[in-house]
């Protein structure tokens, strides 16, 4: 009976996910593809041709843009993985480990754009760091002429990505470690004479990596196609490919839309190529690793590496925190000129005037975020419950289906999707934005919820079934209350993802839906850091608020349930 019902539920959810999430992406890709091969009747292009591709490869800087994208994407992902692994190895078993994911909260919650704006001010030649050490230590009365932001190599962009990606991978990794008997294996390894770091690399990592492989691909895909952060921190002449594509889409010369569409497809190929390269590197690393493990060396040499990785991770977190602080300072500044370490004049003028724009953007963002998150969480619960009732493991293809929106670069299908939505008469409204954002929120909610859901103690479900509770009652009265903490955490992550969405809001909202993120990126092209600061602070505070709620609400609800209040789930 439950089996049949489970199948029905699974079918329904699959239909919803396919029709609501996968189909839009495929049709979007199709429309982009048509434009890439010369079909866009609106500008009079009606014949199939390779001309857009030919034009694309004559556009100045295209080669450098491609190289830059690959370099910044691969370098930041590899570094992020190394740092997260090293830090994980260093702190595992330490009593404060449980608090780490809480400390990560603000950095995970702060949208890329806000962090990027903060980091840009922090490390610029006239930035906060330079101001704090000038002129007494450096002798600079004027900022030095060195490119620390928007540098040609894209190092500032790599740094910005690291600040965001290391905490994400850390969180995923800490979650995955819960599924492995780390302490027992560590003890066994040490008893055999291996150093702590070496056990980590030789024993734990090969088991953890397969569990975090898809999130690593998500990080890689994101780093290869990021737009907002690359606009703020990356080089401008030429920029990385994703920024170049966005620029061409919005160029005055409308015939550029065709090569822009070709470039958008090329962006998808870049991601595919990047992932392929990564998989090849995995193979090589696996071979080399196997040989190295079989050799059986007991070397202690991993120790300094761990210290280095932990140090770098702490510095990154410090940078991220300072970036958020400098935004907060700017938002209450009147004048702050080089080389003063703090503003000369303060003003809360912008905070006092929500009518100047941030009030409505704040409300808009909250409404979109709550709706999108609610949809995504409900869908995720339905999916997971369907798996439970059918008593089935998740198929590989289903996993890929969930991750699809995160693996295909946004720019590759958003323009096409916009055309599809327009044809259906859907654009310009909140509805279109909510739908488009749900594409990206749902996967993250699934990632956050899947493991805790599977880790639920089955005996509780069996006991309640034995007591006569039907499937619905088991879900509502037993599973969901127990899973309250992970549910709220998943919702908080979903909300943060929604707040951070830039391109989907820009494309689908026809510019009419102004959220904190679209406003902050627009304002970062203006000269007033004080206004940008207000938006960026709000952008960071809003998701942070939901994180805090996710932390304290379960404790409050379960205050008289000892077994549930200690973070048991």
């Amino acid at each position: 009976m439950t089996g049949a019902e489970g199948r029905w539920l699974r079918f329904f959810v699959l239909l919803l996910v396919t029709g609501g999430l996968v189909l839009p992406i495929l049709t979007g890709l199709w429309e982009t593809g048509r434009a890439a091969f010369g079909i866009l009747p609106a500008i009079g292009a009606e014949t199939w041709s390779l001309a857009p591709w030919q034009r694309l490869f004559t556009l100045p800087g295209i080669g450098s843009s491609l190289k830059l994208s690959l370099w910044t994407g691969l370098a930041s992902t590899l570094l992020a993985l190394l740092l997260a692994t090293g830090f994980c190895a260093a702190i595992h078993g330490w009593s404060g480990q449980r608090h780490v994911s809480r400390i990560l909260g603000p950095l995970l919650a702060a949208p890329h754009a806000a962090l990027a704006i903060g980091i840009a001010f922090l490390i610029a030649p006239s930035g906060w760091i330079a101001r704090m050490i000038s002129p007494w230590a450096t002798g600079w009365n004027l900022p030095p002429n060195i490119a620390t932001v928007n540098d040609q190599m894209g190092l500032a962009l790599v740094l910005g990505l690291l600040v965001k990606e290391v905490p994400f991978l850390l969180l995923v990794m800490l979650g995955a470690l819960g599924q492995i008997p780390v302490n027992a294996q560590l003890a066994a390894g040490r008893a055999l004479g291996y150093g702590r770091g070496v056990v980590w690399i030789k024993v734990i990592l090969p088991q953890v990596y397969p569990l975090i492989r898809l999130p690593v691909f998500v990080v890689l895909s994101f780093a290869l196609s990021v737009v907002d952060m690359a606009i703020i921190l990356g080089p401008s002449n030429p920029p990385v490919l994703s920024v170049a594509v966005t620029r061409w889409y919005f160029a005055a010369d409308t015939s550029l839309i065709l090569p822009a569409s070709a470039a958008a497809l090329a962006q998808a190929f870049v991601v595919a190529f990047g992932i392929l390269l990564w998989i090849c590197a995995e193979q090589v690393a696996a071979r080399a690793g196997r040989w190295w493990i079989r050799r059986g060396g007991r070397g202690y040499s991993a120790g300094p590496g761990l210290i280095l990785a932990s140090g770098a991770t702490l510095i990154l977190m410090g940078l991220g925190a300072s970036a958020l602080i400098d935004l907060a300072i700017w938002s209450v500044t009147w004048r702050w000129s080089f080389p003063s370490a703090l503003p000369e004049g303060w003003s809360s003028g912008i905070w006092a005037r929500p009518g100047s724009g941030w009030g409505s953007a704040f409300i808009q963002t909250t409404v979109i975020g709550l709706t999108t998150t609610a949809i995504a969480v409900l869908l995720a619960i339905a999916w997971l419950e369907g798996e439970d009732r059918a008593g089935m493991q998740r198929a590989r293809w289903a996993e890929v289906l969930i991750y699809l929106p995160l693996l295909v670069p946004q720019i590759a299908f958003l323009y096409g999707l916009n055309v599809v939505f327009l044809r259906a008469g859907l654009t310009g409204g909140l509805g279109a934005v909510i739908w488009a954002q749900a594409l990206f929120v749902f996967p993250y909610v699934m990632i956050a919820l899947s493991d805790p859901w599977r880790a639920l103690d089955r005996r509780l479900v069996c006991a309640s079934a034995a007591l006569g509770a039907g499937p619905m009652r088991r879900l509502v009265a037993v599973k969901l209350p127990i899973l309250l903490r992970p549910l709220l955490t998943a919702a908080a992550i979903g909300f943060a993802v929604s707040v951070a969405q830039y391109l989907p809001t820009l494309f689908m909202g026809a510019g009419r839906v102004a959220t904190l993120t679209t406003e902050a990126v627009t304002l970062s092209s203006g000269s007033d850091r004080r206004v940008t600061g207000v938006y960026a602070v709000l952008q960071a505070v809003l998701p942070l608020g939901t994180y805090v709620a996710a932390l304290f609400l379960p404790a409050f609800v379960h205050r008289n349930r000892r077994g549930l209040s200690g973070g048991a789930a």
């Binding site: 030649p125 002429n145 928007n150 401008s236 919005f250 000269s527």
Partner: protein, 395 residues
């Protein structure tokens, strides 16, 4: 009261068709919300638009919803996407702050509603004689498809605390940059401000600047730009960050002037420096100045897309922007500080007095310091100039 009725009667007698049409327009516009797509990087402009919305809703029941753009071309792309999807009415864009290449591109592809300017009652304050500044946009005839609203003129800005005597020509600028390497830059050439800087230099350095008024040809381009590239090759290594990267736009460049990363910047708005000081965004010692031989000036317009949902409301807004009282408020440096597009000769004494009473500031250049206004080259020059620049200087 009687006088007003009399005036209305005379006006009605003078152009009976227009008056009734305009009343129809006003009636249809009542209750409409006009989605005005305008670059949103300037807080003063955003507040001015918000003020206009309040005034309009009180007077005509029309409200403005500003759609803040990072780049005007976003709105153009949106209209094209709508046309691609067959949305020929009830489009999402009602009005665009536009000029130059974006206008040319929309006009050529039939994406604009019009001609409508002659139907606006306040168009009587404009100099619409053929070839006047309000009838051509980057040498492209406007033909009533866009309505003027603010004047822009290229100026250089500097901090007088750090630079005592700023260079007043492009050749002098090169010498100054060679003496002060890394202390000057221009916005990215993909941005209109960066492109305008190149055009300004082109007008000054071209052997014969008159060819710039006709569409570009290969020979004319080669002949006119030869000295420009020679000059730029010498300038570029002395730019901020050796000319390898550029600020995204003029606002970011203003921030760099404020931060002390550079000493000389530029603007397309002579009053922007005074206004920025007022807002705490530049030190009180910042100044704006024009170049010997004059600088490029142009008029910014508003246009209505062919599929706009609220065309009548948009026309009411366009008309309101041409009202002498609105224009005087826009010229106030404490508000917006953008120079009026109206023909001063067509204003009555009371309206002229309103302009004369506006506040002033030491950072506000006098007409003498600003010099003559040079006309924009044909848009094809700008497109070619930015393309060739990108080919030459993008690795």
């Amino acid at each position: 009261m009687r006088l007003a009725v009399l005036a209305a009667a005379i006006l009605a007698a003078a152009s009976p068709v227009m008056a009734t049409n305009w009343n129809d327009t006003l009636a249809a516009a009542k209750g409409q919300t006009v989605y005005w797509n305008a670059w949103g990087g300037d807080e003063r402009t955003n507040s001015f638009i918000a003020w206009a919305s309040d005034a309009l809703s009180a007077r005509y029941g029309v409200t403005i919803q500003q759609v803040k753009l990072t780049d005007t071309a976003e709105a153009v792309t949106r209209v094209i996407a709508e046309k691609a999807a067959g949305v020929t009415e009830n489009g999402s864009v009602d009005m665009i702050w536009i000029n130059g290449a974006n206008f040319l591109s929309m006009k050529q592809q039939g994406l604009l509603f019009g001609p409508f300017v002659a139907d606006l009652p306040n168009a009587r304050y404009l100099d619409l004689a053929s070839g006047s500044a309000a009838t051509v946009d980057f040498t492209v005839p406007v033909e009533g498809y866009e309505s003027p609203w603010r004047l822009a003129k290229f100026v250089m800005t500097y901090d007088s605390a750090r630079v005592s005597e700023p260079p007043r020509s492009m050749r002098a600028l090169l010498k100054w940059a060679q003496q002060h390497p890394g202390r000057f830059t221009h916005p990215a050439v993909s941005n209109f401000m960066g492109a305008t800087f190149l055009k300004q230099a082109l007008i000054e350095l071209a052997p014969d600047a008159s060819v710039l008024q006709s569409p570009v040809t290969d020979e004319a381009f080669a002949a006119a730009t030869g000295p420009l590239w020679q000059w730029y090759d010498a300038l570029r290594p002395n730019l901020w960050h050796s000319g390898e990267t550029f600020p995204e736009n003029a606002s970011i460049q203003e921030q760099m002037l404020n931060d002390g990363e550079i000493d000389i910047a530029m603007s397309f708005d002579p009053a922007s420096t005074a206004a920025a000081i007022e807002k705490g965004l530049l030190p009180g010692t910042a100044r704006a100045y024009g170049l010997e031989g004059g600088t490029i000036g142009n008029i910014s317009f508003v246009a209505i897309p062919f599929n706009a949902a609220h065309k009548e409301g948009a026309m009411v807004v366009a008309n309101f922007l041409l009202d002498p009282a609105t224009q005087a408020r826009a010229q106030d440096i404490t508000v917006l500080g953008s120079y009026s597009v109206l023909d001063q000769d067509k204003l009555g004494p009371q309206e002229r007095a309103e302009f004369a009473a506006l506040p002033t500031s030491p950072a506000l250049p006098t007409n003498e310091e600003l010099g003559v206004t040079l006309v924009e080259p044909h848009p094809s020059w700008m497109t070619r100039l930015t393309d060739v620049w990108a080919q030459r200087y993008t690795k």
